[in-house]
């Protein structure tokens, strides 16, 4: 938090001007100490050595200790630092701090307490500190829910136990996986804990400022709360994408349903909707495979969407998309209903978790026009299709400029599809997911786009709807995606 150094300076200079051993001086110093551990910066406290400072400093230290003992371990104590003693017995090992006591303000307020207090949450501009605090506390709770907090703690304990096993590194691949997951979950947990702590510290500080009628400090604390309110709000969104593969790039495939040209045209509209969506989000978009319809549209197409969290967002689009309109391909101007199916597969960055493909299981087909070939033919067509014989999964690429490159891209698509198939299989084995294979790969009908007789796009899963289909078809999908992601995570009652 960028605001800390400033605030620390203010606090420090103010506390020095207070009479020695006064309660307020000690209170300020103790807050200072907590900020100090927070920002991991060294600070020279040259003043009093009174018992009460040590005691209250001790309290604050202990209070942070539960959450970030490792930070305290790395804290540097300069030689001139003689105001405070850090008790070595208080430093505990990192893995066992999970079931820590809940952090509190000096008068016993907790994050859950704030939420339970149901303080009214007003607009950001209407600056009551309680409103900010309540908004932040609510966000923190939502983040925890989205991270599936309780499950996460159980998982972390499991991983910690695994990490403590002596024979862990006998299988380095497994060990690497475990420790990576542990690190990532630990990072998320620490972040949330830090928010909780920060919120309570801000409240402490604010109350203190009020007690003292210190207007400057009060407004500074208020500003800090406000800043925190908006940054935590952003984190709410990030917490939606906490899944293991969410940060990956992905392939999006659109397939036209039955119904000839009208549905092929619809498939092309859906594909261009995703292209614009991806481009708006500054993702890299590459067409991998495109099978055009005879008259218009596409039979199917695959694009590669490159960038952070492409899969996390795009996975919300998996399913069948339905269009109702007067078909421009129907000379009798009748109303038609057509379907397009959307599949999204992540491109796993971590190669160790890839499905192992045997070269001998592959059949590699190249499309070439007939004729004698070789020197007789000049063509820029070098499409490659790869069939994975045991599963029947195929991948085609014809948009690269050499056969070699098309083969490499088709292999990447195949890898991604097989990875997903394998993940689905394992998920079913673990019985952690209730979704069936079809739901994951192609899905059920998820959204209806009506252009006639009225105009509306409605998501059947969340009932989220908009009355401007054009903007949606031009790629404005965020409302649908976010409402689906939050609905699917927030409905989970366990957290």
């Amino acid at each position: 938090m960028g605001f800390f150094p400033n605030l620390m300076k203010t606090l420090y200079s103010r506390s020095l001007s207070l009479p020695q051993n006064s309660r307020r001086r000690n209170q300020k110093l103790s807050l200072l100490i907590s900020s100090f551990t927070e920002s991991n910066k060294t600070l020279i406290v040259q003043t009093t050595n009174s018992q009460s400072t040590i005691r209250s400093g001790f309290r604050v230290l202990k209070h942070t200790l539960a959450f970030s003992s490792s930070e305290i371990q790395t804290m540097k104590v300069p030689a001139s630092f003689h105001g405070l003693l850090v008790p070595s017995t208080g430093v505990r090992c990192g893995f066992c701090s999970l079931a820590a006591t809940e952090p509190r303000t000096s008068d016993g307020l907790t994050v859950n307490g704030i939420v339970a207090g149901r303080w009214p949450i007003l607009d950001e501009n209407e600056g009551d500190w309680k409103s900010h605090a309540a908004a932040i506390a609510q966000s923190i709770q939502l983040i925890k829910k989205r991270l599936q907090w309780k499950k996460m703690i159980v998982r972390l304990e499991m991983l910690s136990a695994e990490l403590n096993k002596a024979d862990l590194w006998d299988d380095p691949v497994h060990a690497g996986k475990i420790s990576r997951e542990h690190g990532s979950l630990m990072g998320k947990m620490k972040e949330v804990n830090r928010y909780e702590r920060e919120l309570l510290e801000h409240i402490d500080m604010l109350k203190l400022a009020r007690e003292e009628n210190d207007g400057e400090l009060e407004s500074e604390s208020l500003r800090a709360l406000l800043m925190m309110r908006s940054s935590v709000k952003e984190k709410e969104l990030e917490a939606l994408l906490a899944g293991e593969q969410d940060s990956c790039s992905c392939f999006i495939e659109v397939q036209a349903g039955a119904g000839g040209t009208e549905s092929m045209d619809w498939a092309a509209m859906v594909m261009s909707m995703y292209k614009s969506w991806a481009e708006c989000h500054r993702y890299g978009v590459t067409v991998v495979d495109e099978m055009p319809g005879e008259i218009a549209g596409i039979k199917r197409a695959t694009i590669k969407v490159d960038g952070e969290y492409a899969f996390g967002y795009a996975k919300a689009e998996v399913g069948v998309h339905r269009l109702v309109r007067i078909s421009p391909f129907d000379s009798a101007n009748r109303r038609h209903t057509s379907f397009a199916a959307v599949a999204v597969t992540p491109i796993l960055g971590d190669t160790s978790s890839h499905f192992q493909i045997n070269e001998s299981d592959l059949r590699i087909e190249r499309f070439r026009a007939g004729g004698p070939g070789g020197q007789h033919a000049n063509t820029t067509e070098s499409a490659v299709r790869i069939v994975h014989i045991p599963t029947g999964v195929t991948a085609t690429c014809q948009n690269e400029r050499s056969q070699h490159q098309n083969k490499a891209m088709a292999m990447a698509v195949l890898q991604s599809r097989l990875d997903q198939l394998e993940m689905t299989r394992q998920a079913q084995l673990n019985a952690q997911h209730t979704q069936s294979l079809t739901e994951i790969s192609w899905g059920n009908q998820i959204r209806t786009y009506v252009l006639h007789p009225y105009r509306m796009v409605k998501d059947l899963r969340t009932n989220y709807e908009v009355s401007d289909p054009d903007s949606v078809l031009e790629g404005d999908l965020d409302g649908f995606i976010l409402s689906f992601l939050s609905a699917s995570l927030d409905k989970d009652k366990d957290n």
């Binding site: 004698p372 070939g373 020197q375 000049n378 820029t380």
Partner: protein, 371 residues
């Protein structure tokens, strides 16, 4: 067709003459007529390589909306072709041509990411180009109306993982030929003598096989590439330099083995994609090939095997014992003939003869080893 041209171009009507002054190309009225073979002399015989479009400096500027107009015009022109080229000589269809429009744009703009904004270009937004917009109009007209090969239009061909500079006077490397490098790569993994030896690529053209080989050989391995055509020699040198392989690939001008007397009997391998089309078939070739590619690289004499026969005989003497050769042929008939020929006439020198299929299942290559 002209009605789809944006007005600005109609008014300056001949962008054609701007960009390609030094080059006399066949006239477009030939499109549907019988394909005749233009004399090679009408092709620029400048021996200084032309820089491929994608490597030229982005010194031109145009508005995004003008570029979009170009794109629409180019796509419309491609669509107007329908199945005409396919029907006449198995040439490109509209799908392929539309894809080429996209690739031409990719090569022409400085920053590819701008292309996704072409759907709805922001007003007044500018884009940096590696060729003048007029030249792009001219180039695409040449592609459609005169069937100038796409690879000569952009000045490069993507082959394996390489991007090779090509221009009139040099054969555009074919995807079938990629397999020669794969064949060798399997061998050199196992045999150190081959991996660290001297290889020859005869009639190297753009240098494709030579560069492909140089990248799979060991530290001690090197490639000597020969070509009779001075322009091929200079393009191959350009490509070798671009992949920083000057220390590994040496280019010598001359016919087949003639420049290789100093390594006679020492070669670890000999590979070649020599001309193998029978002279009588040259006239009926696909327009892109027959009108533009060098006859020197295509015409293999009366039965197409003049050069192949010479290569087979000479390879038996030039290779060191255990050395490998692979030659591309016109297909089943030639491959079988060459295998029979070697079995009968050269059996004391070569063995393990094989005809290998390309990805279409056509017996495309003959391979074997020196005893």
């Amino acid at each position: 067709m002209n009605s789809s041209l944006p007005r600005t171009i109609l008014s300056t009507i001949s962008p054609y003459s701007l960009a390609f002054k030094r080059q006399k190309l066949p006239i477009s009225t030939r499109v549907s007529g019988p394909v005749s073979f233009p004399s090679i002399s009408s092709i620029p015989s400048s021996q200084k390589p032309r820089i491929p479009l994608f490597l030229r400096p982005p010194i031109f500027t145009t508005s995004l909306s003008d570029l979009q107009k170009w794109q629409q015009w180019a796509n419309n022109l491609a669509l107007s072709v329908g199945s005409k080229f396919v029907d006449s000589d198995n040439g490109p269809d509209t799908n392929i041509l539309c894809r080429e429009v996209k690739w031409l744009l990719e090569d022409a703009v400085e920053d590819k990411s701008i292309l996704c904004q072409l759907v709805s270009p922001e007003n007044g937004k500018l884009v940096k180009l590696r060729a003048d917009l007029d030249e792009l109009y001219c180039l695409w007209k040449q592609r459609i109306e005169e069937r100038r090969p796409f690879q000569y239009i952009v000045g490069c061909e993507h082959w394996r993982d390489l991007v090779l500079s090509v221009q009139e006077g040099v054969l555009i490397p074919r995807p079938e030929t990629e397999l020669i490098v794969d064949l060798v790569s399997g061998l050199v993994l196992e045999e150190e003598g081959l991996r660290e030896g001297i290889w020859a690529d005869l009639g190297t053209g753009s240098g494709a096989i030579a560069i492909g080989l140089a990248r799979i050989l060991g530290d001690g391995g090197r490639v000597i590439a020969t070509d009779l055509s001075p322009i091929a020699v200079s393009i191959a040198a350009f490509n070798v330099k671009r992949y920083d392989l000057q220390d590994k690939v040496e280019i010598r001008q001359g016919s087949w083995f003639e420049p290789l007397e100093d390594v006679k009997g020492e070669l670890a391998g000999v590979v070649s994609n020599p001309p193998y089309i029978p002279s009588s078939q040259i006239v009926g070739l696909q327009a892109e090939v027959g009108r533009y590619e060098p006859r020197l690289a295509l015409d293999g004499g009366e039965n197409g095997m003049d050069d192949l026969l010479h290569l087979c005989e000479a390879a038996a003497l030039m290779l060191k014992p255990g050395g490998f050769f692979a030659f591309e042929t016109n297909g089943e008939k030639q491959s079988k003939f060459l295998l029979d020929f070697m079995t009968q006439k050269l059996a004391t020198n070569v063995h393990n003869l094989e005809a290998i299929s390309d990805f279409c299942g056509i017996k495309r290559f003959v391979t074997g080893f020196r005893r």
